[in-house]
Symmetry: C2
Subunit: 286 residues, 2 copies
């Protein structure tokens, strides 16, 4: 573990991470964990703030996890700026940054995979079939590495939050999984590291996603049939300038199951759509 | 948690298990864990003895894990006698028995699977394709439930030991996995709960398994080609009265990979063979 300006300790190995957490435990301190892929924005910092509410010490990780990217996806170009991330985390009051190498997380001989059915079925999985397997594996590893009392995940990646919660419950990982509401810019656009890919023109289109989903959610609340509300939103997104809509879907909020009849349980509307080469996702409660 | 004669506490829920372990931790005590499927014999008790050597407190679990049995296997008839198991564990100096129900371990909605490649490939997997997935899942859960410093597994199930070690490393489960040598009867037969299925005549045949494997191991050590030693042992098992031989295989001891040329690393000989409806496995260092 080495100190870098502005003085946020950075653990590079599981061993040094655990040594720090162990010392905190010895002092009777509670520990919260915020896993990230870096390229931090205000949304991530609200997760750190949420973590600080819940524990004495906060560990954030920055690890661009290769197992959740397909070969054609943006692993190579995913934005990376550790110095900036460390500065932001320091300002947010984070106590330790865990920034391991790929070989620290996946040493030679690694051969375990995790598959989570249930909430991982459909939606993102229809378009990124390996995604949640990669997410579940790296999050299981990180949770067991940090051994925090609580880990905070953004609701921005709502399906991911449910998959992580399911996986942690199923593997009896003793860290509580907490979801934190999505932070949006002044125009309602959900903050995302991938927004950095957007041109000015694309950004103007992107800012319509939230409103179109909110209209569809309101329609479903007013008893518009789900399929019709989904189609209307899809058409509105294409008309707004999205190149392609992967899905707009209203699902049960707790497990993402489809409603077989009327909406008789808390619901969530989720969408994924493309602007040029950039794929955006968002979701709202119904 | 309720006490039963002769006074070994039995935890039925993860919550009561964790409460006990937490109290031990508070007292600064080290914890070791011995997972079993019950039907305990002297072999299991050596695992408890090994655990006692390594920690202040020993948790043993008795759970006949349905996810590692195929539909045609002996889940329904697998021997169960909790009262006897509890007596034996008490005499062995165990401090807590964790004996959960199936629904405590797999509540409704459970949907996570674990697959371990590497050491799980071939051998048992060729004949019990779902076995190690079920083992890896339940062991991951149990390890995270108990959160022991060390967990002791028998070398009798050598491939299982390597799969568990691989899984625990890959998921960064902070419990050290220890293998304990196989206990044998006076005739060299590896102790196994499934030996209870054997008739007197079958028992006499079963007792030849160890010697035949030892001869093959000696032959390999004396530079007999692996394939020839494997075939010779297979023929000897069939001649001794085994109904069917699933495999006799000489593999690298650390990962069960095949030798591509001469034996240039520590090796292990492993076998599975049938006597009537009973399938026996055994293994020896080469």
């Amino acid at each position: 573990m080495t100190a870098t300006p502005p003085s946020l300790p950075i653990a590079r190995t599981v061993e040094s991470l655990r040594a720090t957490v162990r010392e905190w435990r010895r002092q009777g301190l509670g520990v919260a964990f915020v896993p990230t892929m870096g390229a931090l924005h205000e949304g991530h910092l609200t997760l750190v703030a949420e973590a600080k509410e819940r524990a004495d010490r906060v560990v954030a990780s920055v690890f661009v996890n290769p197992t959740q990217f397909a070969a054609h996806e943006d692993l190579g170009t995913y934005p990376r700026d550790e110095a900036r991330d460390a500065t932001l985390l320091t300002e947010a009051g984070c106590h330790l940054l865990f920034a391991p190498t790929v070989s620290e997380i996946y040493p030679e001989g690694s051969s375990t995979r995790i598959e989570v059915d249930g909430p991982s079925q459909g939606l993102e999985t229809d378009f990124r079939p390996h995604f949640f397997g990669g997410v579940a594996l790296v999050v299981a590893k990180l949770l067991n590495q940090v051994q925090a009392d609580v880990a905070v995940f953004g609701e921005k990646d709502y399906q991911q939050l449910l998959v992580v919660r399911r996986m942690a419950a199923d593997l009896d990982i003793p860290t509580r999984i907490v979801g934190s509401p999505t932070l949006r810019d002044g125009h309602g656009l959900a903050l995302s590291s991938r927004n950095a890919y957007l041109s000015e023109a694309e950004l103007a289109v992107a800012r319509q996603l939230n409103g179109i989903l909110a209209e569809a959610a309101a329609a479903v609340s007013a008893d518009t049939p789900i399929a019709l509300a989904e189609d209307t939103a899809t058409n509105a997104l294409l008309a707004a300038g999205f190149r392609q809509v992967d899905y707009v879907a209203v699902r049960r909020a707790d497990d993402l199951a489809r409603f077989k009849g009327p909406v008789d349980a808390p619901a969530r509307i989720l969408a994924a759509a493309w602007l040029g080469k950039t794929r955006l996702i968002d979701n709202l409660p119904v």
